[in-house]
Symmetry: C2
Subunit: 145 residues, 2 copies
């Protein structure tokens, strides 16, 4: 399950993705449109910015905008920031790989095999789904698979 933070982040980013090009949007506005507690959202946006998913402008007339084009921000990118690796075990994580301490042989570990297949399947989907594809589509009914 995603954390609340993760859900908030997805909502906020979709709001930002729907914003007219480049225009920064204030935290307060994002909070209202995405229905996220404002102070909590501040922390989330800050983290997303540090990870390059958002850019910000400080001071008057400031606000947040996407750090790169919407089609280059995948759900996987976002979820990894808010909820950590997609993988079910560190030994199959691409972004946070870590060997299991007492694993005898990674190559033959049955658990690892299964979890690796699961990770690959999940990542394949979430890396394909981007803010561009998801944002309130200018397309017709996009009943995408």
């Amino acid at each position: 399950m995603l954390s609340q933070k993760g859900r908030y982040a997805l909502h906020a980013l979709l709001v930002l993705a729907a914003q007219k090009n480049g225009e920064p949007m204030m935290i307060a506005d994002i909070a209202e449109k995405a229905r996220v507690p404002r102070k909590f959202l501040e922390q989330i946006l800050l983290e997303l910015r540090k990870r390059g998913i958002l850019r910000s402008q400080r001071g008057r007339q400031g606000g947040y905008m996407l750090g790169r084009s919407a089609k280059e921000i995948s759900f996987a990118d976002i979820i990894r920031v808010t909820d950590g690796p997609l993988a079910l075990s560190p030994c199959v994580s691409v972004t946070a790989y870590q060997r299991c301490e007492d694993c005898e042989d990674e190559a033959t570990c049955a658990i690892r095999k299964a979890l690796l297949a699961a990770r690959d399947a999940t990542a394949a989907v979430l890396e394909t789904q981007t803010l561009a594809g998801a944002s309130s589509t200018p397309r017709r009914t996009r009943r995408g698979a």
Copy 2:
């Protein structure tokens, strides 16, 4: 990420799946072979039993055995017991569905679409991988697909 409980459960069940037919195995033995703290394992096995994945025999000569054939116990079954639904959001969970309180329309929610695709992909893999497929195969090369 899986919880420690989930990892322990997988290890323990693989140990049980490798056991000669029907023979009950004592908690203490499973704990040793699976390298799991014994008292913690007790709780895990108890839960797996309540969910039908294991059967037990009490008293002397007692122990645990698989609740059904190894090929009918999938990784998904196990993980759902120890770590909850595979889905990233209740609104796309098959086993624990729950509507998002403030979701305007499930049919068009972009987030839901993405998370549903992710869930389906993950479930497809984890429901296919079973204890039979994973346990130290009596097959020849054990380099199983």
